[in-house]
């Protein structure tokens, strides 16, 4: 299993994702500079969090046109595994690999805190190490995490079980109080129809090392092995 971490100017969580894959899981991991046009051979691509292009104009709007993106889109369309975390999720949306859009948080403020997330189903490649409806604690850190999609799109997501993570209360209840940024139906993470592209706002790479406390994120990375 070989992992590739795509690095844009302004990416911040590239080193964090690299550290989990390389140091904690011991998986061969390479950093891929956004100006490359071909991908090294790898089985999983991680598009990390951060402020690609300073989040200028629209989050992910400029990164979407980096030279590497055509190769990433082609890799995804051929069934390769792609995970977009936070800014990475926003880039996948701008690139059309995932449906919907991420708007400014309801509070208009940047939010960095641990939140409870309910794993909607473990039938997907990325969530197979969790139990369905399991409640885990993952940190979020964003100002534009307010997921939106029109009614048809939402119906489509639900019908094809593409909603993998929702913001929830500690006992797994989907409520507005448990919704930190105003996302439609508390959506925190979705996959595409084929299930090989995952986009999520929470940061699993930040809860993978016991020294930092909880490790609810490691199971997601282990699902790639």
């Amino acid at each position: 299993m070989r992992v590739g971490v795509v690095v844009f100017p302004g990416s911040n969580c590239d080193h964090d994702c690299y550290d989990v894959c390389d140091r904690i899981l011991g998986v061969p991991t390479t950093m891929i500079w956004h100006q490359e046009t071909r991908l090294p051979d790898c089985d999983v691509l991680i598009i990390p969090g951060g402020f690609s292009y300073g989040d200028y104009l629209r989050v992910g709007a400029i990164a979407r046109f980096s030279p590497i993106m055509d190769a990433v889109i082609d890799f995804a369309n051929r069934g390769g595994l792609v995970i977009g975390i936070c800014n990475g999720f926003q880039i996948l949306l701008e690139a059309g690999l995932l449906p919907g859009v991420l708007l400014r948080n309801r509070s208009t403020k940047f939010i960095c805190e641990s939140v409870f997330i309910r794993v909607e189903s473990n039938q997907n490649r990325f969530t197979r190490n969790y139990r369905s409806n399991q409640v885990i604690s993952l940190p979020i850190a964003h100002a534009e995490g307010n997921y939106y999609i029109d009614a048809d799109g939402l119906a489509d997501l639900e019908e094809k079980q593409q909603i993998l993570f929702r913001y929830a209360s500690e006992n797994g209840e989907i409520s507005d109080i448990a919704n930190p940024n105003g996302s439609l139906e508390n959506i925190a993470g979705i996959c595409n129809a084929q299930g090989n592209v995952l986009g999520m706002m929470p940061h699993p790479e930040r809860v993978a090392d016991p020294i930092l406390g909880l490790t609810d994120g490691i199971a997601l990375f282990q699902s790639l092995l």
């Binding site: 400029i62 046109f65 859009v101 708007l103 400014r104 948080n105 208009t108 307010n146 939106y148 105003g182």
Partner: protein, 81 residues
């Protein structure tokens, strides 16, 4: 030559920043406000060229990058120097 581009959120799309400004205006005592929507206003300096070609390229810029046509609409005006 200058292009003035106005990008707004489509009707029905949530505008948290607009709501926040609306609330702030109320607390400042502006009673006559019924709604606020916030969008982007871009000024693009263009090399002198035919209005027709300029309009075509500005349209393309908006479609490709400046606006996210899923949730935003755009309009623009051209101003010869």
């Amino acid at each position: 030559m200058k292009a003035k581009v106005y990008i707004s959120l489509k009707k029905g799309i949530l505008d948290p920043q607009g709501k926040a400004v609306e609330r702030a205006l109320a607390t400042l005592g502006f009673s006559g406000v019924e709604g606020v929507r916030i969008g982007k206003y871009l000024e693009v300096e263009l090399k002198p060229q035919e209005a027709e070609t300029a309009s075509q390229s500005v349209k393309e810029m908006c479609e490709k990058l400046l606006a996210n046509t899923v949730i935003e609409t755009y309009r623009y005006e051209l101003e010869p120097d």
